[in-house]
Symmetry: C2
Subunit: 501 residues, 2 copies
């Protein structure tokens, strides 16, 4: 058995090298690549992805996994080897069910749809994008049929991003949270002026913003010996090894929170990957558990830490030191309130903590309705706008600020959106546990001692990599399944106080 | 036949994608990669290189090449298809003669030897490196035996870098050139003070040096839409596509020529790759003809252009504009003389045009003597020092400034050095032809019109990619085989005038 396991690991290591090489090419594509390089780069990425897929779906890997099945069951469920075999089997079953021709059809269709989306968004005309979206939907339906499902067609799509999670579970969670949030949004909407954030809109030198971002990333515990930060139009985190995890950021000269919180957010993702146990390197376990688990880390650092009162008690003096003019009338409390200001708005990525999940719920509901044929592509803009009015009390003036704002559907990524909310919920659930485990957490933060949180996250979450599903992790770490109680309480508590509700 | 050719091209395109992906990883490794990423990167590069080698030496490719042999002979020798089949067959025969186990042995031995060399150089102790060098020599002897040779064991090694070139040819050329250069060096050595370059050693702001380098690269015709410049400890050029060719440079704060001429040199390499015909993309023909051909381009722009009087007539005002204090007492003529100052020195990469090739000849002679067993590794330092005294009239004070200065032997790259000199000779030969073809070349340069040279090089040389050998190119472009007459005349003319010999 050891020989078969070694053979499997050797094959997976080679595939992991190819995937990591592709990640380097992707990083370069979004940071430094000159415009002329685009066509060749797309070709190189297609070749590497095809190679990795071909090697992974090789029959030999299927046979090895079958032969190792009983062996895996004889080991403790949470052992590295049992987890490797279990998770690889899960990936293999999915990958080998989809014919390469469909994979390639989807790749080509989404590449064209992305271009169409970009133009349609620039001209704010949904009808130009509609046929491409329809094609993506048709292909993803076929994809879902290949994978199979017993309940909902959304299930196998969701499973790509959040293994083990079911559509009905998310519906239940969302219904529950929505009941709590919508009244909260309405209550706050009548008291918007209680919080002032006008002083965040000033001129902020880009180099100073950069230095500040590096400073806060170091504070969190991002290891620059095993990572680096660069600039890109859309901030992202990528990883080529547990010892080479990189982030990017971008800045707005007239609004410092854009770059500052983007850096904290990506740092949250990056310290997760830097915290994986080195034994998982070059295996399919060398990543975060799921998109939801990953998002829990970025959002925890961004919101539960970076938008907390103790954080600003510690950090405000540094802020005033580098931007003395801009913040001469501000203090930690004013900053805390300003960076948490709630305002129903059109664009998801700019939404505050309270309204954010409503944007997600809307998309989740529309995706399901589309996939199940309850609405058509042509209905989308109108239904989008109705729901925006219903949940947030505002109506987009045009498609660019409405149904066309997100890139995901052009990529065919149906099932991706809910993971953002799952991240928010899981972050709050973890944080409740952390407050139980670490005495005086806020006082640590006030002194700039963030390593105490990172150490906890490493020991309880990061170390496991992809060994467990989000729900398994929730049970393992907090003793119960994923829940939204913590998140709702956090919102009510924080914003109830801030808006004197 | 068309079907077989298409099959071959498809396979070669995939291999080309893998090799180009590896080049991106190599570029990142030397520019931006954090230290922690080194081990994983080495692994990823090994995997990609193994994959490319495996795919290239696949029997199917051998069969296709055999089946296409007659077809290729029915086409014009210089057609794209005939050249593709001919050059690929040459590469295939070499690659398939070497067992993968030996390739892997060499890769591991040279990786260890490189580390040993680095330490040995830092401590200036050749004896620490000697056993690794011995091992590299033994492996490369075995490698040469696999490839086979009729005359000299050096032939198959040289052929890796300069296809078709023979050791005896180079010996004849070198003997001839040496007879001319050694007396020239001696004559100049007694008149060293005729040229002053003291004013080149001042403080030069790095950002201004960077801008100046970008300026000169643009002047030459480097297309930044299809390339970029970054910093690295050792300047290099790399290419991921004809439309993505990158250079790197580095600066010395107290001596501006270091960075300035490094940028021109790498730009010379880069415009060669940017000038390849796009039809060659994703084939083995998408590169320069050989290392010698490549070096002819970098050295032409660096020396025949960048160290010419007309260049400085044009460029000196720009130089004085950005470094007014430093060059307030200098003019074009003073600069021309300063950047061409001849001085026998210890380090090859810092050598002037006159003494440079003597450094190469010394290495070439030692490599041959080692491989043929006429000297032993232990003899090296002493023989090195003797030859330095004989050719240049100076003796290295220690191994770091002598036998340990170059990285090449630690990589096992025996046969590489002569291509530097071939590049110098070929550049001069081409330049004679260019002066015949372009009327008033110097006056064009004095006006900053360098595109006229680039256009000529593109049309006559760059466009061909790897279709021809260096000697074939020499005949095609200048009507005669590679010769050194032009180079010797150039040196005697330029330096005879400068030193009033």
């Amino acid at each position: 058995m050891q020989e078969k396991l070694d053979d499997l690991k050797k094959r997976l290591a080679e595939i992991s090298d190819i995937n990591n090489a592709a990640a380097v090419l992707g990083w370069d594509q979004q940071t430094y690549m000159p415009p002329g390089g685009a066509a060749a780069r797309a070709q190189q990425l297609a070749t590497l992805s095809h190679l990795a897929h071909e090697k992974f779906t090789d029959d030999t890997i299927g046979c090895l996994l079958d032969e190792l099945h009983a062996y895996a069951r004889s080991l403790p469920y949470d052992s590295d080897d049992a987890s490797l075999i279990r998770v690889t089997k899960r990936d293999y079953d999915k990958a080998s069910k989809v014919p390469p021709s469909l994979v390639s059809e989807i790749a080509h269709a989404t590449a064209r749809a992305f271009e169409a989306w970009r133009k349609a968004k620039a001209e704010s005309r949904f009808s130009d994008f509609a046929p491409y979206l329809q094609r993506n939907l048709d292909l993803k339906r076929r994809y879902a049929e290949c994978l199979g499902y017993t309940d909902r067609i959304y299930d196998p799509l969701l499973d790509d991003y959040e293994p083990g999670m079911k559509t009905t579970q998310i519906e239940a969670i969302f219904t529950n949270v929505k009941q709590e949030i919508v009244p909260l949004v309405h209550a706050i909407s009548s008291r918007l002026n209680v919080v002032d954030n006008g002083f965040l809109y000033q001129t902020f030198d880009e180099q100073i913003q950069w230095d500040l971002g590096m400073d806060v990333a170091r504070l969190i515990g991002y290891d620059f010996e095993r990572g680096r930060q660069d600039r890109s139009p859309h901030p992202f985190t990528t990883s080529f090894s547990i010892h080479d995890v990189r982030i990017t950021t971008r800045f707005m000269n007239n609004y410092f929170p854009a770059g500052f919180f983007a850096t904290i957010h990506e740092t949250g993702h990056a310290v997760y990957n830097q915290g994986l146990r080195y034994e998982l390197e070059r295996t399919p376990l060398a990543d975060g558990a799921s998109l939801g688990a990953h998002e829990s880390q970025s959002r925890m650092w961004e919101n539960l830490v970076g938008r907390s009162r103790p954080f600003w008690k510690f950090f405000m003096p540094r802020m005033k030191a580098v931007f003395p003019e801009q913040f001469k009338n501000a203090d930690a409390e004013k900053m805390y309130r300003a960076v948490n200001r709630v305002k129903p708005s059109l664009i998801r990525v700019e939404a505050d903590e309270v309204t954010y999940n409503l944007h997600i719920m809307l998309r989740f509901e529309l995706e399901n309705a589309l996939l199940e044929g309850r609405i058509t592509v042509d209905d989308l803009p109108e239904i989008w706008n109705c729901k925006m009015q219903e949940y947030l009390g505002i109506t987009p003036p045009d498609d660019a600020h409405g149904v066309l704002q997100d890139v995901h559907w052009s990529h065919g990524s149906f099932g991706y959106f809910p993971t953002y909310s799952l991240g928010n919920f899981f972050a709050a659930q973890l944080f409740d546990q952390i407050r139980k485990d670490i005495f005086g957490l806020d006082r640590h933060f006030e002194k700039g001692e963030f390593h105490i949180l990172l150490d906890w996250l490493r020991a309880h979450l990061h170390t496991h990599g992809r060994k467990f599903t989000l729900d398994e992790l929730a049970k393992k770490i907090t003793g119960e399944s994923l829940q939204t109680r913590s998140f709702v309480a956090y919102l009510k508590n924080k914003y109830g106080e801030m808006y004197s509700l």
